[in-house]
Amino acid sequence: MKYVDEFRDGELARRIGANIAREADPSRDYRFMEFCGGHTHAIARYGVVDLLPDNLRMIHGPGCPVCVLPIGRVDMAIRLAFERGVMLCTYGDVMRVPASDGLSLMRAKARGADIRMVYSPLDALQLARAHPGREVVFFAIGFETTTPPTALAIRQAQSEGLRNFSVLCSHVLTPPAITHILRSPEVHDHRTVPIDGFVGPAHVSIVIGSRPYEGFATTYRKPVVIAGFEPLDVMQAILMLVRQVNEGRAEVENEFTRAVTREGNACAQAAMADVFDVRNSFEWRGLGQVPASALKIRGDYAAFDAETHFDLDYRQVADHKQCECGAILRGVKKPTECKLFGNVCTPETPMGSCMVSSEGACAAHYSYGRFRDIPVVSS
């Protein structure tokens, strides 16, 4: 595929890897966080770690919307389907997220709840048109990449007067999550998770631009390099981060210039601002309550807000006691440091959310990296 295959060239990747190894100072360590699950997935899938020097470590960030979705939000969706009899539509990634009482949306569907997997909010709109006698709720999750389509779907529903359509909005915001990590005790106070820089989001940045990250460079003195989701993009961004660290710079640089500008997509930003307001606080799995980190539907569109329409309340639910998703999402632990990893918790039977999405740190390591942990023994 054009603009994809060229950015997966193995020979070029090895050469960039050689440049990273040559430029990395052997007398120090480099620790970079890739915020996005898309980068986590690319790093695992293409074996990027094998092309990096030993003194350079990538720390997985919380930028996987499925992984940070708290159990209580999934419970709300399941309650809507069971107790209110709605037709609940959502993205495929959300279907297997573990919820309370051993349920997930997939298991609730198996028990008779009307739960539909959709590719696009447009599909949910179409279901609402096709079933005027049913309440159709779109369970919307995702970062800024996924938010403008939800905004347009809500506006479309309003313009059509589609009164049986509403949205359970669980959209979250990237910059407040990065701020939260930088201020967390592990990073800021104890420095148990030292982070020398960030590989910045790819598709989120198409929407919001590179400007929102500039504060992280100036206030926190952390380099940020926005990178595309292909392996060569990630490798090039790592090289650019190594150079910034070596030269004592902390700037926002953009490797993904083919799609990201400083200002972002103004049309998408306007649609988001029209339909959504920022919530005072929102619970993230692993990070807890993060101020001003999520969106709710504005009063003008209240008729399409499932939380208002069905008078829903959010109930916080604790994670499985032995699940380390929280620590893994904060970069404090690696997937292999969780007791459940690879035995009771696998992509087929996920206990924690990081094992659900292919972008989750645990699922990525299980699918592509778990045999790296086993030493090769020749007889």
Partner: protein, 71 residues
């Protein structure tokens, strides 16, 4: 979740829809977020919407940068 792919705009349909060609697969999507897109442009497609434009010149420049560095 943020999975998005570059696709060529094959046709513009009505005011804000289009048909994109994704390595031979044709799909009808919303173009409402990229009103500037024209037939032949590459757009980034996510959940049935084009969310941004792909700048062909910048893509070439990035590829040249990889190649130059490795010389």
């Amino acid at each position: 979740m943020c999975l998005a792919l570059p696709a060529r705009v094959a046709e513009l349909v009505g005011t804000d829809e289009g048909i994109v060609d994704l390595g031979g697969v044709r799909k009808r999507i919303s173009m409402a977020l990229v009103p500037e897109a024209r037939v032949g442009d590459y757009v980034i497609v996510h959940v049935g919407y084009a969310i941004g434009m792909l700048d062909a010149e910048e893509a070439e420049a990035t590829l040249r940068l990889f190649a130059e560095m490795s010389a």
